[in-house]
């Protein structure tokens, strides 16, 4: 019998939780970008992740691209989907209520899912790991190199987005659109273009997440909904619109699930994450990192 200590198991759960959590965080960030610029929650975000994975499979396995070009091509293809969503759907419904927006994006996600089913069928697909297959066993803890890739991709994206939104003129302009669209137009910011870009950007990030996780989790046409749900949870828990909050909340959800599966009950792990989420909502409705100050300012 293996003598694997308590500590190793703990680490293993933590590692699993962080990997899954990083994925949730990436999905949550996708929600946040669009929310930041438009205050729309795009329920098709999960489908972007699914499409990212499947497009990468298409470019890598079917077209024979090497991994990096396949990655980029998949991201571009999904960004194009985001563009279509904004240009031909969202823009048509600019004055819709929160509820109709939710339903419009749900309907679009049904379309994407249906389309993916027709194109790729119902089987799961795999993608080789970015570097080296198999895993490293370290003190009884198995580390998948791909998990490190997922973390790296998440970290890079969060860092890039933070820099983008804090340093670049365009990033700040996007925030300005979210803060006060009318004033943004007045200072000459093309608000529509910014919205358009936000959809492409968030689709691209979703796609990047999809490509990064496919080597670990496989990908099939109906994977999007659950990822979208968990990502939405992370986005709300972190405070809508907060990138850092999304990262922390995503990791928290992932860890909560993993530890619950490890120490409490694997069947109830999703429920535990959701109960946490509900408690957070009931007692801190603006999310863990949604600042009350900013929320207060937003209303004026």
């Amino acid at each position: 019998m293996d003598s694997i200590g308590f500590g190793a198991a703990w680490l293993q759960y933590a590692l699993g939780g962080i990997t899954v959590g990083a994925i949730y965080a990436l999905v949550a960030i996708g929600y946040n970008i669009i929310y930041n610029v438009t205050e729309i929650i795009n329920f098709a975000q999960g489908e972007f992740v699914m499409l990212g994975g499947l497009f990468a499979v298409f470019f890598h396995e079917t077209c024979g691209f090497p991994m990096l070009p396949a990655f980029l091509a998949a991201v571009a293809a999904v960004a194009l989907t985001g563009l279509i969503l904004e240009r031909y759907v969202i823009r048509k419904a600019r004055h819709a209520t929160v509820l109709s927006m939710i339903i419009i994006t749900i309907a679009f996600s049904i379309l994407l899912k249906g389309g993916a089913m027709l194109v790729w069928g119902r089987d799961p697909y795999r993608l080789p790991a970015f570097s080296g297959s198999g895993s490293i066993l370290w003190n009884g803890v198995a580390i998948q190199p791909q998990a490190l890739w997922v973390l790296a991709v998440s970290g890079t994206i969060v860092a890039c987005l933070t820099i983008f939104f804090q340093r670049s003129v365009y990033g700040k302009a996007m925030l300005a659109c979210a803060d006060n669209p009318a004033a943004a137009r007045l200072v000459g910011i093309p608000v529509r273009t910014m919205i358009f870009l936000s959809f492409m950007l968030s689709a691209a990030i979703g796609a990047a997440a999809g490509v990064a996780i496919t080597p670990i989790t496989l990908m099939e046409y109906d994977r999007g909904a659950l990822l979208g749900l968990k990502g939405f949870g992370a986005a709300v828990l972190g405070g809508l619109g907060q990138f850092f909050g999304a990262l922390v909340a995503g990791l928290l959800l992932g860890l909560a699930e993993s530890f619950c599966a490890g120490y409490v009950s694997s069947g109830y792990k999703d429920a535990v994450a959701l109960v946490l989420l509900l408690l957070a909502l009931f007692f801190k409705p603006e999310g863990l990192f949604g600042s009350k100050e900013a929320a207060g300012l937003k209303r004026f």
């Binding site: 700040k172 302009a173 006060n180 004033a183 943004a184 007045l186 200072v187 300012l297």
Partner: protein, 243 residues
């Protein structure tokens, strides 16, 4: 400099402007007064491109800018300081100014220079340049809103209710700034509830009522006009306040 000819604009399904005509000459302050809902804000929004007029034309420096998007209007040198200030409350003071210069985003040096100059000019903003704009006081916010508009290097400023919600002493300073801006060569169209203050610094004034211009004249002239006094300066306000 700016000529508006029989402009008709709908706000939702309300016919808010019913054939408004006015003109502003280069280098003057023109005050636009009238009750709430008279269509003043609709008019400046139409000029700034936020609303699309149904009929009529807006000429700026001989160019038709009637159907232009707000971005394009700013590019041509018209900046609006909107009612209620509308600063980017969740962004810092500096970022607010930077956004004001969005159309000059490729001229970083110029933007930096302008921002430096403005911050020198408004020391209070310099002191708070890293604060979130929403945490500024009302007067500071108004200052920021005007500065932000100036970052676009406009020749023509539209000011919508700059004194709203401000204490009398602050109002006084804001109006001083407005005069200063005119003295520097900018043209200003000023909307004010505070008709008295506006007319006192204005070269000319227009009075609007239910979507139409009903009266126009020189600032001082309107100030003593009986109808204007009755409707906007308050009937017998003389008796009440100037006692």
């Amino acid at each position: 400099m700016l000529t508006v000819r029989s402009l008709h604009t709908y706000y939702g399904n309300i016919h808010a402007l019913k054939g408004v005509s006015l003109h502003v000459r280069s280098g003057e302050i023109v005050a636009l007064i009238g009750a709430n809902g008279a269509g003043k804000t609709t008019l400046v929004h139409s000029i700034a491109g936020l609303l699309k007029p149904q009929k009529g034309t807006i000429l700026y420096k001989e160019e038709d800018i009637t159907a232009l998007a707000p971005e394009a209007v700013v590019q041509r040198g018209i900046a609006l300081v909107p009612e209620g200030r509308q600063i980017f409350a969740t962004l810092s003071v500096e970022t607010n100014l930077e956004m004001g210069a969005f159309i000059h985003r490729n001229r970083r040096d110029q933007v930096q220079r302008d921002m430096g100059a403005l911050l020198e000019r408004f020391p209070i903003l310099k002191e708070r340049r890293r604060q979130l704009a929403g945490t500024l006081s009302g007067g500071e916010q108004q200052m920021l809103a005007i500065s932000r508009a100036l970052m676009a290097r406009p020749d023509f400023l539209l000011l919508d209710e700059p004194s709203m919600g401000l204490a009398p002493l602050v109002i006084r300073e804001i109006f001083a700034i407005i005069q200063r801006l005119r003295d520097e060569g900018r043209t200003i169209l000023l909307i004010e509830q505070n008709a008295r203050a506006a007319l006192e610094i204005a070269d000319r004034g227009y009075v609007m009522e239910t979507g139409k211009v009903v009266l126009q004249g020189e600032g001082r002239e309107l100030l003593v006009h009986r109808e204007v006094q009755r409707a906007y300066l308050g009937k017998g306000s003389k008796e009440i306040w100037d006692a």
